[in-house]
Amino acid sequence: MSSSQSGYVRSTMAEALPPPRSTTGVGAWMRANLFSTPVNSVLTIAGAALVIWLAVPLWNFLVADAVWSDPEGIRGEACRFDGVGACWIFIQARIKFFIYGFYPNAELWRVNLMFAIGVVLLIPLLTPKAPFVRTAAVLFFIVYPFVAYFLMAGGDLLGLGVVELRRVPTAEWGGLTLTLIISLIGIIVSMPVGILLALGRRSELPIVKTFCIAFIELWRAVPLITVLFMASVMFPLFTPQGADPDVLLRAIIGICLFESAYMAEVVRGGLQAMPRGQYEASQALGLSKVKTLGLVILPQALKHVIPGIVNTFIALFKDTSLVSIIGIFDLLNTVRAAGSDMAWRSPTHAVTGYIFAGFVFWIFCFAMSRYSIFMENRLHTGHKR
């Protein structure tokens, strides 16, 4: 029964077939994603042409034709020839000015120290589940502003005559430092003020409600430039002689109030999306109105509007560049001022400066955007029912 070989049974393994051409490999991927239909093929080719058309001159300007070093120390002259690309030596030469403005050279360590402390405190605040969050929050929001101010402005610490730093008037602050200071203060102030305004706008007390609506609508209806002009030109007319607050302080106050009004509307959007059941469940448990807001409503409402909040932060960060109009030397203004320096007469150094400024703004805004996406994902707690 058995040793007879059946002609139908293979004695060796059949050779494996090659994979179907259409599912693997670069060619197949391109066929599926780029050339699946005639229209897609045309779009792909047109898109590729556009990229090449843009990329080549961009590469030439930024890299190939750019001036990267200035061994002879001739500054603008090094960039003064036909077909010159980006004048990077301009950035190299003036980077200190772009970062610190007119801050005295010998005192720059104070600015660096201020940044270092700020970063050390911000890391636990921005990292989920980091230890010492509460300590870091107290230090950052309550202690740090005073430390930072003392480091930047100098003077006699607490008037004790023990620690004394050279005074640096705010007119000498500038550059990226100032841009960051203004933005950070704007962000930190506009958030709580905006929340209070949003809550006030929904208040049952007519006076509070009217005040909040009036405040929000007033500030939102005025362009920020107008606010800044008012702060720098009009405001001193109304204050008694001598009691003339610093122009930087006035600009910062203007920005904070302006951004608070915007923030209030973003937060209000989140509050309006909260179902009534959440208030009721919380109150039925005996939580007071304030605790209901703080523990149940706001955490959810703010989470819903993280994209809107970060959008406002990003807009605020970029809007700070408007302070250059009232003579404050933020990053953009230092770049502009350095660009008009006679020693740097060249076709491209000014453009290079603006590219640099734009890139710095972009880095910060992009980081904020990515961080917000990260937070949204982390705070996502399962689908709603």
Partner: protein, 264 residues
């Protein structure tokens, strides 16, 4: 208007004792309007401690509004509501006191979606009663075990089924050790297969002597645990009776019509 609470029924269910002296909720001549709309009319209701009351009636008859008046989620304009000896007025301190004694379970659960189950349960004990966190968590786990979902403690509400969410909502109320529990159609938003798990928890509560006011159309539940069924229509209490009488011998035309619709 209140029925005799020491009726014969109690002898069948020795576990569920009703106090004959201690009043949990007393409502006298209460009226409520929404603008011009007279939503509750001349409500008189006395609930003794340990009573289990089922409130039934057509949609829009004011059942929810009535029980929401008892913990002041809604304000009444006329008459008196006394809960556990405290009269409800606009005095916020009294409202807080009442809410600490009265638990409420909603049709749509209303869990806090940004908090874990355990945090949902400990929020009020920690922030209202000032219970230390560890103690509140131990207590919360006890109640989660009682509603049979301790393993879900660290999940978020959005990850639970409807029946599980409603059981969490009941446990959340119980964590505040309420003397009175209000239920507003606790099973109406649930799929049929989940209704029983929630009703079982409620039956368990009743057996432990909790004072309960339930708006529900679960007539089986009413038969099993209620010692009084109240029928409402158009903002009025039309009739109230012990369940057997109520179902077998309804007095009013509207009650008969309603029962014929609900029991098909």
């Amino acid at each position: 208007m209140s029925v005799d609470t020491d009726n014969g029924l109690e002898t069948d269910r020795p576990k569920m004792t009703v106090s004959s002296t201690e009043v949990a909720v007393e409502i006298v001549g209460m009226n409520k309007w929404y603008g011009d709309f007279h939503v509750l009319r001349d409500i008189d209701l006395k609930v003794m401690s340990g009573e289990r009351i089922v409130i039934a009636g057509p949609s829009g008859s004011g059942k929810s509004t009535l029980i929401r008046c008892i913990n002041r989620l809604e304000e009444h304009q006329d008459g008196q509501i006394v809960v556990d000896g405290i009269e409800l007025t606009s005095d916020l301190k009294r409202i807080d006191e009442v809410r600490r004694e009265v638990g409420m379970v909603f049709q749509h659960f209303n869990l806090f979606p940004h908090l874990t189950i355990l945090q949902n349960l400990t929020l009020a004990p920690i922030w209202v009663r000032g219970t230390p966190k560890a103690e509140a968590e131990a207590e919360a786990m006890k109640y989660l075990e009682r509603v049979k979902i301790p393993e879900q403690a660290n999940k978020f509400p959005g990850q639970l089924s409807g029946g599980q969410q409603q059981r969490v909502a009941i446990a959340r109320s119980l964590c505040m050790n309420p003397k009175i529990m209000l239920f507003d159609e606790p099973t109406s938003a649930l799929d049929p297969e989940m209704i029983k798990e929630v009703l079982d928890v409620m039956v368990g509560l009743a057996e432990e002597g909790m004072t309960m006011l339930c708006v529900t159309h679960e007539m089986g539940f009413a038969r099993q645990v209620a010692n009084r069924v109240i029928f409402m229509d158009q903002g009025q209490i039309i009739e109230q009776n012990e369940p057997e009488e109520f179902f077998s011998n309804p007095q009013h035309e509207r009650t008969k019509l309603f029962l014929s619709q609900i029991l098909h």
